[in-house]
């Protein structure tokens, strides 16, 4: 389980990387976007999402009949790396591309796939992930939002919280209770529903992030009607379906590269200053990044070979290690180089520092807190 495969990129894959990079450099030069740290959460730009949709770069691995490109997980890995390394604003379509698409391909109905996937691929349809509730953070099985069966569908009542970018999203895949909580089998009776966020009875209330920015939301459901054809997979199978998503969510480059624009700017700044002592210190960051990337690509390779059962533990490990690394970057940077972190600074490094410091606390919380991941990994390692 601790032995992950290595990956040597093929010539075609290297070529793809060059192609993506050239596109992003062009757009950067045109001023289409401003690079940011943590751009997969805070860089929401529907225009940009449409633009990369036109490139065919959303749903890259999906079947062609839904508008995908049928390319490999490794190609998608490369694409994602390039977006994050340059701090491109990919947040709007992020969750639909990363999670909802694969979920629907695995568990969705043909009707759902035909309806949603082509819109997602165009960069015009965004999904939120409705998991956490006010009294149910890490203990996800304790969710209380409930759906009751009525003629032709379900009536949903309850509340979700911390939903990233729900205010921009069209739909939310929502984990709900479809039968009463059973203390002996708390994972039973959960289901996933696609809820139209424009539907009657849905209220979205912003929760400002500590920077004052609007990423998170509370989403309230007051007698919201969800038609039967918006149930994902099977009623009662929501827990297992949700778990399957996690390997995709946990081990990607976004668990290592959220603060990469800062690392890059640090190196450039040290080069400009001809500061070889600083570069010597910074080389340790580069070595850590390299070693984590090996692990993360190894998990992508396992996902590519379709063995997702083996993947969940190393994926959790990558998230735990990677987010700790991302979080450490501003702390190390400020001891190598003098910065004056400020979100509206003119100097890039000061801006990236501000973004990194202020976003860092979230890295080890969202998508599974490190503490929960430690439990998953420790149990997995001991069970070997």
């Amino acid at each position: 389980m601790l032995h992950l495969p290595t990956v040597q990129f093929t010539e075609e894959q290297e070529q793809f990387r060059v192609e993506v990079r050239a596109f992003l450099q062009d757009e950067l030069a045109k001023g289409t976007f401003t690079p940011k740290c943590d751009s997969w959460l805070s860089g929401d730009d529907p225009e940009f999402s449409r633009l990369i949709g036109q490139q065919g770069w959303i749903g890259l691995t999906w079947p062609k009949k839904y508008g995908g490109q049928e390319r490999s997980t490794i190609d998608r890995y490369i694409l994602t790396e390039e977006f994050l390394a340059v701090g491109a604003p990919v947040a709007a379509h992020w969750f639909a591309d990363r999670q909802t698409g694969p979920l629907l391909l695995r568990y969705g109905s043909e009707e759902q796939r035909e309806f949603f996937l082509p819109q997602i691929v165009k960069g015009e349809c965004y999904f939120g992930i409705g998991l956490s509730e006010p009294n149910s953070g890490s203990d996800l099985a304790s969710v209380t939002t409930r759906a009751e069966k009525v003629e032709g569908g379900w009536i949903v009542n309850g509340q979700k919280i911390w939903t990233s970018n729900a205010h921009l999203c069209h739909y939310m895949v929502t984990l709900v209770r479809t039968s009463p909580f059973d203390g002996k089998n708390k994972h039973a009776g959960l289901s996933q529903l696609i809820i139209d966020l424009q539907a009657q009875g849905v209220t979205i209330v912003p929760i400002k992030y500590l920077t004052g920015e609007h990423h998170y939301n509370e989403v309230f459901f007051d007698n919201v009607f969800v038609p039967d054809n918006m149930v994902v997979g099977e009623i009662g199978n929501g827990w297992a379906q949700g778990l399957a998503e996690l390997a995709f969510e946990r081990s990607g480059p976004e668990r290592i590269l959220s603060t990469f624009p800062l690392i890059d700017e640090l190196i450039q700044e040290l080069k400009r200053q001809n500061n070889s002592q600083g570069l010597t210190q910074a080389s340790k960051i580069v070595a850590r990044l390299w070693s984590l990337r090996n692990l993360s690509i190894g998990v992508a390779q396992l996902l590519e070979s379709g063995n997702s059962e083996d993947v969940s533990i190393p994926a959790a490990l990558v998230k735990a290690l990677g987010t700790k690394f991302e979080q450490s970057i501003p702390e190390i940077t400020r001891l190598i180089i003098q910065t004056y972190p400020s979100l509206d600074a003119d100097r890039k490094i000061d801006r990236f520092m501000a973004q990194s410091i202020l976003h860092a606390p979230g890295f080890t919380i969202r998508g599974g807190t490190s503490e929960v991941l430690y439990g998953v990994v420790a149990k997995g390692v001991v069970a070997q």
Binding site: L2, V86, S276, A287, S291, L317, V377
Partner: protein
């Protein structure tokens, strides 16, 4: 990847499992010697893996050899395996004659050995296994520059010493002793290349020990009970387990990526990154494993120290990570890519390195 790899590692692992135990390692640490184990490796052709067949080798490539080295680290095999095989690897790399029998090497650039009229003079410390082996392959300095020479150790005055793990590290003195083979003058780039290869071999050895320490520690958390339950059930112990497993997974992945890079001659930065990272890994792994094992792990009776002491010794042998942080800093300073990302992801082919192919 060599198809032989799986077969070779299976054979070697079985050999080591059956023939190396704590007592044997103890005995050798106390100054004895394990000729039977060496003979076993020799009989199975493991000492000439990655040596070309025209030089009497057994075939296989550097990945195969490094995986055997890794296993000798995993079992703390008390024989000069890395020393002999790397000495031969150096010789073959520089088109010199392969040796018969046991050998050792010294790649330090401290200029202690002078080469004059085909004879070697000088004193060097910390030469692995010198008392037990026949040949020394070392850098030596003539008026023309730096050479790699091979010399018969029977001409040396040898003063015995040990490292932290009780492995033989002897002081070797030559007085106008005749060298057997001499390379042409080596450029600084070539010496760096040899250092890179040497570090890759050491990484293999360390990876084995790290892997073993992880195994021992996880096993211990299952067997040891406190407060009525096995200690892996305690969340604070679980934190240690995750940290240890994480560093072990990183070490294994780093090692595998280094061997792949060597196969494709792209090892330029990989060895540097891995060696820098291993500094942190070794510190974490040794500290955590001892903390989890608690008092029993600090006793001579337990085998944990045979691996932790080796890591503490090995990390200071050869060039340590400060050499490599300087190299990376230099590479970063000199590279013309306009972003770190481009630099990291552009395959940086180095000069052809491996002439030895199975």
């Amino acid at each position: 990847m060599s198809e032989m790899k799986d077969m070779i590692t299976e054979v070697v692992e079985r050999m080591l499992k059956e023939n190396v135990d704590k007592d044997l390692v103890d005995t050798v640490e106390q100054g004895d010697w394990a000729p039977a184990l060496w003979e076993l490796f020799e009989e199975n052709g493991m000492t000439v893996v990655a040596v070309t067949e025209e030089n009497g080798g057994a075939g296989g490539d550097i990945e195969d050899l490094l995986n055997i080295v890794r296993l000798t680290g995993k079992y703390a095999a008390p024989i000069p395996f890395i020393e002999t095989t790397f000495a031969n690897y150096l010789l073959e790399y520089l088109n010199l004659q392969i040796l018969e029998g046991l050998a050792t090497y010294r790649l330090s650039t401290n200029q202690v050995f002078t080469l004059e009229n085909g004879t070697l003079t000088g004193e060097a410390h910390h030469i692995p296994w010198a008392r037990h082996v026949k040949h020394l392959v070392t850098l030596a300095y003539s008026s023309e520059g730096t050479h790699l020479v091979e010399i018969d150790l029977s001409q040396a005055d040898i003063k015995q010493g040990t490292n932290l793990a009780g492995e033989p590290r002897d002081t070797v003195t030559f007085q106008h002793a005749l060298v057997s083979q001499t390379s042409s003058v080596l450029s600084p780039d070539e010496i760096h290349k040899l250092t890179t290869l040497c570090t890759a071999f050491q990484l293999a050895l360390m990876t084995g020990a790290i892997d073993k320490i992880n195994d021992l520690t996880i096993q211990f958390t299952k067997e040891r009970e406190q407060f009525g339950r096995p200690i892996h059930r305690f969340q604070l112990v679980q934190q240690h387990i995750v940290h240890l497993a994480g560093e072990t997974a990183l070490a294994l992945a780093a090692f595998n990526n280094v061997t792949e890079a060597l196969l494709t001659n792209n090892e330029n930065s990989e060895v540097a990154y891995a060696r820098i990272r291993f500094e942190e890994i070794i510190q974490a792994v040794t500290t955590i494993s001892h903390q989890v094992h608690a008092a029993i792990g600090t006793t001579h009776e337990h085998s944990l120290h045979q691996f932790t002491r080796r890591l503490w010794a090995w990390r200071d042998e050869g060039v340590n990570s400060s050499y490599w942080t300087n190299i990376v800093a230099l590479q970063l300073m000199e590279n013309s890519e306009d972003s770190l990302w481009a630099y990291l992801t552009t395959s940086n082919s180095s000069s052809p390195l491996l002439k030895v192919e199975g």
